[in-house]
Symmetry: C2
Subunit: 85 residues, 2 copies
C-alpha cells in the first residue's frame, strides 16, 4: 500500500529522500526502482545476504508488510532520465 | 571520462538502459546515481563483497578505468522524480 509506504518512508527520507532522490553521496536513488529489485534488496539487507553499515540495521526491524508498503511507495514514483548531450 | 563511459555502457544497456533506466524487473535504475555509491557497488561486485548472479560476472572483467568511466557516464545523467499525488 503506497500511502502506508509514504508514511513509513519518513524513516528513509534522510538518506533516500521522500521522493526517492538520494540525499547522501553513499546512498542510492530509489525513486521508481522496479518492485522486484527493491523488495529483493530490502530482504537481502534484512537476511544479511547483502550488507551495508546503515541498511543492515534499518532492515532488521522491517516486517514483510513494511517492505511491501515501502516498495509500493518508492516504485510508484515516476522518474525521467536525461543523459548529457 | 563520461564519453568513454557511454561507449562502455553499451554492455550495460540491455539491463540498465544506456540512459540508466532499468530494462529488467530485477535490475535497478542507475541513472544519476551518486558517483560514490555507483563506484562502491561496482567494486563490491568485482571483489565479491556484493553478490549478484549477473553483476558478479560482469564486474569481474572491469578495470579501475572502466569503473571510473561507467560511473562518470551514469552519474552524469539528470534524473527527476515525481511522487504519486
Amino acid at each position: 500500500d503506497a500511502a502506508a509506504g509514504k508514511d513509513k518512508a519518513q524513516a528513509c527520507a534522510a538518506c533516500h529522500g521522500l521522493d526517492g532522490l538520494s540525499q547522501m553521496p553513499n546512498a542510492p536513488h530509489i525513486a521508481g526502482q522496479p518492485e522486484i529489485y527493491l523488495k529483493a534488496q530490502l530482504e537481502a539487507f534484512r537476511s544479511g545476504a547483502r550488507v551495508n553499515e546503515m541498511m543492515s540495521v534499518v532492515a532488521k526491524g522491517l516486517t514483510d508488510e513494511d517492505i511491501d508498503d515501502l516498495v509500493a511507495w518508492y516504485s510508484a514514483i515516476e522518474v525521467t532520465a536525461k543523459p548529457p548531450e
